[in-house]
């Protein structure tokens, strides 16, 4: 076995070419699901057949929001909830770019919920990778619009009574053309979905149900990250094309994963070009 000694790391991990190693180690806790979402993403990038110099990664704020800062491509760390508007602007200004938004559930469907809805409605050609850890992790584990009913968080000490957002259903209703969900355990299938989503013209969404091993799992006494991965192993079921109305996530209940939506709709940029050509006669 080749073992690197401290201080003289000669060996290079195969993903280093796409990572900002000067910023490592990253901030994520042991057993956190964000790191594994990133390895799936980087592996997917290596399988894509286009020039990665034409890709831009955009994140908002949160633990997941740190992703853009660790990927060695053009990347943008924006304000909380506004990753999608920044991404829309980048795509409109330079439609040749592939734009990927990588951010958390709080960032994208709570404070950024309206942007999510309207980007899907417009069918702007961006890919959204959403890490759903059911909580506002970075700020201390507060209840989020994605927190399952009855789950404890630091601000729902008697359990959450709200109905959580069903993210795939929200995306479908708003107009997304590609919608998939995996857990952090399904890393190979996740990688494949990320490739498909990036190659799909229009608004595509990949939701990743992932452990927050620091807050969500501790407060709910669900063990370490590996215990949550074991839970996904025993309790997730692959059902491609499942109607999205059935995809609500309950507290420690079965998680349905798969590809649910893959359809065609006119894109925002094409519609805009056609319209302006017609308007100008």
């Amino acid at each position: 076995m080749a073992m690197a000694e401290k201080g003289k790391v000669e060996e290079k991990h195969p993903m280093e070419q796409l990572l900002r190693m000067d910023r490592m180690p990253h901030i994520w806790c042991p057993g956190c699901g964000i790191g594994i979402s990133v390895t799936a993403f980087v592996s997917a990038l290596k399988k894509l057949e286009f020039d990665l110099n034409k890709m831009c990664v955009v994140s908002g704020i949160g633990c997941t929001g740190r992703v853009a800062g660790y990927i060695k491509l053009d990347s943008f760390h924006t304000t909380h909830g506004r990753a999608i508007p920044f991404a829309t602007g980048i795509k409109m200004a330079n439609p040749d770019l592939k734009v990927v938004v990588f951010s958390g559930d709080g960032d994208l469907v709570s404070i950024g919920g309206n942007h999510f809805i309207h980007a899907a409605r417009r069918n702007i050609d961006i890919t959204v990778i959403l890490v759903n850890n059911f909580i506002y992790a970075m700020t201390g584990g507060q209840v989020a619009p994605t927190t399952p009913e009855t789950a404890y968080t630091t601000t729902s000490p008697f359990g959450n009574f709200e109905t959580p957002a069903n993210i795939p259903q929200l995306a479908e209703a708003a107009g997304a053309v590609y919608v998939a969900r995996w857990t952090a355990l399904h890393v190979r299938r996740l990688e494949k979905s990320i490739v498909e989503a990036i190659n799909k013209p229009g608004f595509s969404l990949v939701e990743i149900v992932a452990p927050c091993s620091m807050y969500y799992s501790r407060i709910n006494r669900l063990g370490a990250g590996i215990d949550m991965m074991r839970f996904y192993h025993e309790n997730s079921i692959i059902k491609h094309d499942e109607p999205t109305e059935n995809l609500a996530v309950g507290y420690q209940k079965q998680i349905i994963v798969g590809k649910f939506i893959d359809r065609e709709r006119p894109g925002f940029i094409e519609s805009n070009r056609r319209w302006s050509a017609e308007a100008k006669g």
């Binding site: 280093e16 042991p30 390895t39």
Partner: protein, 93 residues
């Protein structure tokens, strides 16, 4: 053994053997690589790293198939494999 039919193309089947690379000081001891290696190559070591975690130890290096799963499940970019050689398949396994 006698009831195992020998595949006609057995001599053409090559089994990859991997070499594992581990940067111990990057590891945060999550255990994902140990749990998800399909061929039980890795075990959790008793040893503490500089950071105070238990990194994996390569307990059965000869069993590594260079499948790359440890690389993709490691959130710390600490472990990966490279192809060492390809050996001919045998029905004795």
């Amino acid at each position: 053994m006698s009831n195992v039919r020998k595949p006609y193309d057995l001599s053409e089947i090559k089994i990859p053997r991997g070499e594992i690379h581990l940067i111990k000081d990057r590891c945060k001891g999550c255990g994902f690589c140990v749990e998800y290696c399909p061929n039980n190559v890795l075990e959790v070591s008793d040893e503490f790293s500089e950071k105070g975690y238990h990194p994996p130890v390569v307990a059965n290096p000869e069993r590594c198939l260079n499948c790359g799963l440890c690389e993709i499940v490691c959130p710390e970019f600490a472990i990966w494999s490279t192809l060492k050689e390809e050996v001919e398949a045998s029905i004795e396994g």
